[in-house]
Structure formats: structure tokens, C-alpha cells
């Protein structure tokens, strides 16, 4: 089936099988491999991307369901706020500054979930960050620094939540 999906600001046309999940579309068709597939059962959140600005688990969304939509993955995050190829989005920068990762497998999903959270709630409290990230698992259990990173990013992004 023909789909037209804007991925990281590039409008694409692809012929996909209806059963292809968005996660596989991003990795195998678009070649964007930051989006990890962890549990593949809508639990771990490693495959989180934004669709039309909202966080979703791309292992449980069909590519055909995003036809006409706009998808942002970690690769396109900095550019989505007008930053250059060598620059980090404030959420990425905060994860780096606060050491919000250990092995790094959950990080792309964690960052995209945090971006989705901050879009809806630009200045969350610490409990709101913890609840907002409840759909993302870190098997290294490095949650404290992840939460700290999101709070740091919220501060850096200013009153309106813009970068």
C-alpha cells in the first residue's frame, strides 16, 4: 500500500505491507536505527517516537496508520527545533549533562518520551516526570539521572517549553 509520511521533515512516499509496524518502517525502510525495538509488546518504550507531536510506541502502530502524518525520531529531533547537524536538542543535551544513560539502549525512546512529556507539560514536577515516563523502562535502572535530565531540560527550554 502506498503511504506518504513525513519523517524528520522529509516527505516520503513508500510502498509498504499493511502489517509493517512503524518501528520496522523507520528502521528498515527509512534506515533510521536510533529507534530501538526492545520488548516488542508495548511495554518498554524503547521504540518511542512522536507522531504529529505526540509520543507513541512505534512497535504497536502500523506504518499505514501514520499515512499523511509527521513522524520525528531521535535522528531528526535537533533539526525539528532548527538546530544544526552537530548540535543537540536541549533534552539530548540534558541527558548528556546529567548522565541520564548507562548502556544507552532505552535512551532514544526515553528522550522521545521526554520530548512528548515536555510538549504537554513544559514544567513538570519530579513526580510528574516519573509518571510521565512510566511507559519507558531502563534495565540499567538509571532512573534518577534520567528524571534529573528531564527536569534540567525543562529549565533549559524556558517558560513556553521552546528550545
Amino acid at each position: 500500500m502506498q503511504v506518504s509520511i513525513t519523517v524528520n521533515s522529509v516527505r516520503r512516499r513508500d510502498d509498504v505491507e499493511p502489517r509493517m509496524m512503524l518501528a520496522h518502517y523507520l528502521r528498515d525502510v527509512c534506515g533510521l536505527r536510533a529507534t530501538n525495538i526492545g520488548c516488542d509488546t508495548t511495554s518498554c518504550g524503547a521504540c518511542t517516537v512522536t507522531v504529529d507531536g505526540e509520543s507513541v510506541k512505534s512497535c504497536t502502530v502500523l506504518a499505514v496508520q501514520t499515512d499523511g502524518g509527521t513522524v520525528t525520531t531521535l535522528e531528526g529531533l535537533a533539526a525539528s527545533v532548527g538546530l544544526g547537524p552537530d548540535e543537540l536538542h536541549p533534552v539530548q543535551a540534558a541527558f548528556r549533562a546529567e548522565h541520564g544513560l548507562q548502556c544507552g539502549f532505552c535512551t532514544p525512546g526515553m528522550v522521545m518520551a521526554a520530548v512528548g512529556l515536555l510538549a504537554e507539560n513544559p514544567h513538570p514536577t519530579e513526580p510528574e516526570v516519573r509518571e510521565g515516563l512510566e511507559g519507558n523502562l531502563c534495565r540499567c535502572t538509571g532512573y534518577h539521572n534520567i528524571v534529573r535530565a528531564v527536569l534540567t531540560a525543562a529549565d533549559a527550554m524556558g517558560p513556553g517549553g521552546d528550545a
Partner: protein, 269 residues
């Protein structure tokens, strides 16, 4: 995991979706948010030949006051229930319970109609509509009918809807400031309930104590006869037939039903 192959079609309207169901029968399933159906298809527990996508039917996403009821469109997402000011003012249990469904990403996709049609007895929203004494509006080919929530859930993942019917609206009585509560017990964050209890005034609905969400009839009758909360709650497991699984055996689920009902009723007053 990859699902079996299927044909994907988009519904142009409710009538179109129902016509497709009537034509294809058991071969077809409606796809809304897909967060119950697609995982089942990935596990090959479901393998419909055709998915009829109703998610583009944006006019089925609404929460509005309609006379003495609050009308909720079947394609209203969980996140939109949570943020609805109309629900907060008129039927607050539903929005509060929706916040317990899955996690933010899941709530961005999943819909109330999808959850109720899926009819998982461990799910949050079926118990909420039962406690709310809601009426479900179902569209078949040329016929629209109303089904009481108490009659809608008939078995594990089974509803009173025929294969060619679609849930289009949920109608809740406007309960305003009537006390309500939701107690959910899980072993992990964002999991299904091991047992959950929803209350509106003296109506008590329990999730995951049988093949459907159940009203705690013995508890409700005891309350009506003047029993204390503790006495009434001690009857909450009467007439239930809970499953045993890795989370809880039958005795533990009965215990949870009593304890959660006591907590819920205490918080409802």
C-alpha cells in the same frame, strides 16, 4: 514479532464501516487505536483477514453534555478522557480511571470504544462504565440500539455486539459532585489490574474477578440495607469466579476484592 498478513481498508463513515463488517463477517475486525488488537495479532492470537480502520472518523471523538447524559464518542482517546473538563465536572470517575490505562504513549493511541469492545475483564474502562451505569450505543446495518453496560459484557473478550455492529457512543449519567473512587491493585506500574474496584455513590463494579467486569451486588444490597462499609465490603467477593494466574490465586483475588472495596467505599463517602 510480525502479524499474519491482512488487507487494510479505511472506513469512510460509520455506515461504511458497518457495511464492510456486514459483508465480511468474522473475517474483519475494526481497528481504532490498535493497542489491544495489534499486540494480539503480533502474538498470532488474532488473525483477521481484513482490518477496517475507523480511526480516521474524527467526528466520533468528543465528550459533550447531552440532556441528562454525558455523551462520549467511541473514538475518544484515553488522553482526551483524562483532560476533558466536561468529564471532570459531570462524570469524573471516567476521566480519572482513563489515567490508569497503560502509559502516556498508550493513552495517546487507545480509545474508549476500542477498550470496551475488546472487553478484557482486567481492563480499567469496562469497570468504570459499569460503575457509572452507562449506556452503550451500538450501530448495526441500518439499526442503532442502546445496550446497558451491565448487559454489554457477556464473557472473556466477548460483548453483546454482533459481528456487524460497531460501538459508536458511550452515554453516562451526569453525576456531578456524587462521590466516586477507583482502587486498582497492580504488581507493576502501568499493568492491568490484578483486581480493581470502581465506585459511584453506592454502585460498586469490580474488574478481573470473573469473565466480565461485575457489579458487587451483595455489597450494594448490604449498603442499601444499612450495613457498615466494613460489613458490606466483606461481601465483595460473593458470586465472583476469578481466574488464577501468575499474579494471584483465587483466594488472594477474593481477598483483594474485599480490601479494595472497603478502601474504595471508605473513600467514596
Amino acid at each position: 514479532m510480525i502479524t499474519a498478513t491482512f488487507e487494510y481498508v479505511r472506513a469512510e463513515s460509520v455506515d461504511d464501516a458497518v457495511a464492510k463488517l456486514a459483508e465480511l463477517g468474522d473475517e474483519a475486525k475494526l481497528l481504532a487505536g490498535g493497542h489491544s488488537l495489534l499486540p494480539m495479532m503480533k502474538l498470532r492470537l488474532a488473525f483477521p483477514a481484513v482490518l477496517v480502520d475507523v480511526r480516521p472518523l474524527a467526528d466520533l471523538s468528543y465528550v459533550r453534555v447531552d440532556g441528562e447524559s454525558v455523551a462520549v464518542g467511541a473514538l475518544t482517546r484515553h488522553c482526551d478522557l483524562v483532560s476533558s473538563a466536561v468529564l471532570r465536572a459531570e462524570a469524573p470517575l471516567l476521566g480519572a480511571v482513563a489515567a490508569h490505562v497503560g502509559d502516556p504513549q498508550i493513552r495517546h493511541r487507545g480509545t474508549i470504544g476500542g477498550s470496551l469492545s475488546h472487553a478484557d475483564p482486567a481492563a480499567d474502562l469496562p469497570a468504570a462504565v459499569l460503575a457509572s451505569d452507562a449506556t452503550l450505543v451500538v450501530q448495526g446495518p441500518g439499526v442503532r440500539r442502546q445496550v446497558a453496560a451491565a448487559d454489554f459484557f457477556v464473557g472473556y473478550f466477548e460483548t453483546a455486539m454482533a459481528a456487524d455492529e460497531m460501538l459508536v457512543e458511550i452515554r453516562l449519567p451526569r453525576t456531578g459532585a456524587t462521590p466516586w473512587h477507583y482502587e486498582k491493585f497492580t504488581r507493576r506500574a502501568n499493568d492491568w489490574a490484578v483486581v480493581a474496584v470502581a465506585t459511584v455513590d453506592t454502585r460498586v463494579a469490580i474488574a478481573n474477578m470473573g469473565s466480565t467486569p461485575l457489579r458487587a451486588t451483595a455489597t450494594e444490597e448490604a449498603l442499601a440495607a444499612g450495613a457498615s462499609v466494613a460489613e458490606a465490603a466483606s461481601l465483595a467477593a460473593e458470586g465472583t469466579d476469578p481466574v488464577e494466574d501468575m499474579n494471584a490465586d483465587r483466594a488472594y483475588r477474593r481477598h483483594l476484592a474485599r480490601v479494595l472495596t472497603r478502601r474504595a467505599l471508605a473513600a467514596t463517602r
